[in-house]
Assembly symmetry: C3
Homo-oligomer: 438 residues x 3
């Protein structure tokens, strides 16, 4: 794939800066405004389609909640000063807080306040989606310093029938078979979790939209976590069988190497493709566990979809996770750019993996007379020759190019290039049509 | 399982102290007296059944030997003092020594004497079951100091048609399918090998007899090594097909971590259950080898039974093995108690392992409205929640709770508890009835 | 197998000394003279059969080249002195150099000269089989010192229709199924690559010809690399299906441990046999790669033959490879002798591997009454007893002696000896006739 004209890191950062202040949750205008921002950044000709699922709709074991919106939320101290204010940081307010306007003494306020004693300067992120309550989050140092006295609490929120909204961007390919790339869109002012996933997705849309041709259809899903992906899943019906590969993207801008989390089965093509790419980049591959992001919905027993997850250091393993320290300074341009490159490489494997049959299988063909081998013998073989020998030597109609890359230790791109050269010299022929690709 | 009232370690030790002085062999009154001691220690309502197999009976490739009994055996030196005396230690006499009363000079006596030059203060354990001979064992330091002169040898033994005796304790369960727990009963005054196995078995009988209900029938076998287990096997016929799981117990009170030796096939449920328990306790799992205790009979090609073995440091790997240094001081109460706990855990896996099917398989069910999930979101999940997520996430009708425990790294007991909670909330349903359990 | 009378190392060295000066290539009299030398060294009654394949013959994707012969080749410097002379070292001339007699200045000569800057005193080995050209190789220190001026170049070679010649030695066995042992015969004065393979093959012919009986037919192939083995393969037709096992031998006299390179599939019996032998000798087993010697032809997708390769440090991994430093001093007698011993051990596995069924499968048979077990019990088992217990314990009609050796960690020879003793005592019976051997 060709590189776009301007550098990707600053472009992704500029988008995240616009999206950071928005108060997102699993429903409400924050999601709509974020989808607006995504839409604005799409390449020309590419569109974002929105779906609204009304409150009260049953979604498998769940029911779509009332829509939550908030205009203002603060606590004023005995001296009238603001102790916590949504306008200062969206994390100050527990997500889905019910409306309240009251005065109450410190000891009655305290049960509604949340802080992190181990990180006294950070604001934690808390939600109460399905238990009607209100609450505020603030730095533990501030909480400890609160004087006795009466506090005024004001939350101007609404919890009313509305809808849950998600967005989709589709890049059609030769086949209706799909690669699904999903990023949750519900978290408020947290940069790594998950503005990084959204920004990387935007960049991928740009790159993949420019491919001369696409073997697969690519579907980017921007939905609220858990309930949003379940709502999307509930509306797919038989179309789920079109999902051939998938990735959940999140936490790609923080520190640490790339970490690929396998599908539940662990032996899908996306698992092998991602392992090939991520391990070559010094990253890590982990087995599936039923905890994390929306991969747990896609991999649920009833769906069993081939959807892995790519992050850097996973949730819960870095202290900034779900705190105000997961801010724009916490994510790095280089990290985001490498994540884009790695996913593009995974896409190249998914697009380019084929199984060939050696058309000159009785011993090695004479590469030299086809200009594919050096004329002077006696020296060791070049990488290019080795890629051809591996591809010829294993193209038995059963072994895919990706398997050959894994077996040889060569990058997939080298094996693919060799296969194209050999196919051009009529030394390899196709064995599998699109329908046969696993 | 509930803990019994008094501490197990001292109780096991008290029993071993009574059994230690008895001169046991593969036949004779020593075995009968040991079975008496076992019977006395059984919980009320539990009985020990004895079987006698007459001398001369053919048992597969073997023939039951004459019964051996000995009343007195000693060597007196030139000065009349006792050089070795069965009354002082049962190991002084080679087991199955023929009767003799003679005088002979030192050089003719020496071929009948056995010692351990590398451990000059210990008496070795020697037998001559199938080659008619007599012999004595003594510390090498004593042997070295024997003066020239005439020695009087007296062995008042009998080798006459009689019977080989073994005992069985059966604790019936819902199913006639059996778990067999076997401990050899033929070794004389050796504490780890195998009073430890007998004492642990007694304790297990106590614990398992108190279970509210048992899925399996438990059969405890107390038989002389090799020929005794073969005699038992020869009388089972079709009943052998009822043996679903089994363990040979020996050497559980000496030093070192728990060591589980797999069945010959190495992939039986008892192998996985024992590995799960033993590895979590810092123990070791070893592949099968056709040398050791009665597991070699149970695993013989013609029987191929799923019977593993639990020990601490195995036979031959500790210097005290088969010497007078394997005495009551060599075994520890804490070691015996841990062995009991570990086997109880294995039994809990065998009893509790099931395969469930997720009844709410389309994404994660909403645990919160069932009171199974914390109301405040944003924090990491508790161990209890994780056990439920793993159980839901893998209960596809094929993956057993033990597999889920292995995959998740959680203790079986936690996964089992989560499964019971989920089944109580109608989120899991049964897939396998008793007949389907592998 | 019995050891021959005189020491093998000096015998192999003496042969290599005769063969070293010959100017070999993929065709021509050098190959014929080398086959003559091999023939002379064969044991009496054993013959070498030659096959000539005419130039122009199509061999799969290749065409047999014109035959190349050279009588004289040198470069004289401006002062008339010889800069490089075939008579001094066969490596001086690029193999398949076209005839030339000309005078030319240094700058026009230089493109025809080859050297190794990193090893300035060594002459490299270069070929130009399929690209008509001439060239010389010389030490880089000499090349650097060439003065300006006119040089006389003389190559008295012929490239004319002729034939490619290969030789075969066949030692018939009970079965027409074959073990193929192949060594390339095309390299000029290089000792490790491949006089070592030829000398070891000669020694193996001697050893295997003396076997009292052979289960397999052994075919030793002495062919030029690549095109020679392809020519041989092209003339086999259905006889290829008779090849049950095979080895390519080369590079056995240089340094480093034995290195076995697996067949492409990696799970053939020769892979397991060679791994068993080579690992026990501290050697190394590597996966297949489609680069190297003639194993790449035998393992090509269309042939897929079970042919592995044995070397010490493989080609390209030692600096002396394909240079004048691969001389007779570079190979060691002890290394060659160990290679012979190792291959003889592999042959012993291939000849001796069988699958037996335990005829006394219900528990352990009573070895003692057959004189196969010590009469005095209580001690640990001897290696001999252990080999019998392993063989009995795993001879279920499916597990071969080699598998038992691998599982037990015992040498194959010990397990085989135990099996013979047990079969002699009617405790083991045959399960597989020759036709069943994989």
């Amino acid at each position: 794939m060709t590189e776009p004209d301007s550098p990707a890191g600053p472009r992704m950062r500029a988008w995240m800066e616009k999206a950071f202040p928005i108060c997102r949750s699993i429903s409400g205008d924050g999601v709509r405004r974020t989808l607006d921002l995504l839409e604005t950044a799409l390449p020309s000709g590419v569109t974002l389609e929105r779906t609204g699922v009304p409150s009260g709709t049953e979604v498998f074991d769940w029911t779509i909640n009332d829509e939550w919106n908030v205009r203002e939320a603060w606590i004023a101290g005995p001296d009238g000063g603001r102790v916590a204010d949504l306008a200062a940081h969206t994390l100050h307010l527990v997500s889905y807080s019910t409306p309240v306007h009251t005065q109450l003494p410190l000891d009655e306020l305290l049960p509604h306040l949340h802080s992190l004693p181990e990180h006294p300067d950070w604001i934690p992120y808390r939600t109460s989606y399905y238990h009607r309550d209100w609450g505020f989050c603030l730095p533990h140092s501030h909480l400890e310093a609160l004087p006795p006295g009466d506090y005024e609490v004001f939350v101007d929120s609404t919890l009313e029938p509305g809808e849950l909204v998600y967005g989709e961007v589709v890049l059609p390919g030769r086949s209706a078979d799909e690669v699904v790339i999903s990023s949750h869109v519900c978290h408020p002012s947290l940069a790594n979790d998950n503005l990084s996933g959204l920004a990387v997705s935007l960049e991928l849309i740009d790159r993949i939209s420019r491919l001369e041709e696409r073997r697969f259809t690519y579907r980017f899903l921007f939905a609220p976590g858990t309930i949003g992906s379940l709502a999307w899943l509930s509306r797919q019906g038989d179309r789920l069988s079109r999902i051939r590969h998938g990735l959940v993207l999140t936490g790609l801008g923080g520190g640490g190497p790339l970490v690929y989390k396998q599908t539940r089965r662990g032996d899908r093509l996306v698992d092998e493709a991602a392992a090939h790419v991520v391990l070559a980049r010094g990253g890590e591959v982990r087995r599936y566990s039923p905890y994390g992001y929306d991969e747990r919905q896609f991999n649920a027993v009833g769906f069993d979809l081939p959807v892995g997850r790519l992050t850097r250091t996973p949730h819960g393993e870095y202290p900034e996770y779900h705190t105000s320290a997961d801010n724009l300074a916490f994510v790095g341009d280089a990290e985001l750019e490498e994540a884009v490159r790695a996913i593009v490489e995974v896409v190249e494997v998914l697009e380019g993996d084929r199984t060939f049959v050696n058309l000159s299988p009785y011993g090695e063909p004479q590469l030299g007379r086809r200009g594919l081998y050096p004329t002077m013998g006696g020296k060791s073989a070049s990488d290019e020759v080795m890629a051809m020998l591996w591809t010829l030597g294993y193209s038995d109609g059963e072994t895919s190019l990706l398997r050959i890359a894994q077996e040889s230790g060569l990058p997939f791109a080298d094996v693919h290039r060799a296969a194209m050269a050999l196919a051009g010299a009529d030394l390899l022929g196709p064995v599998a049509d699109e329908a046969d690709i696993r």
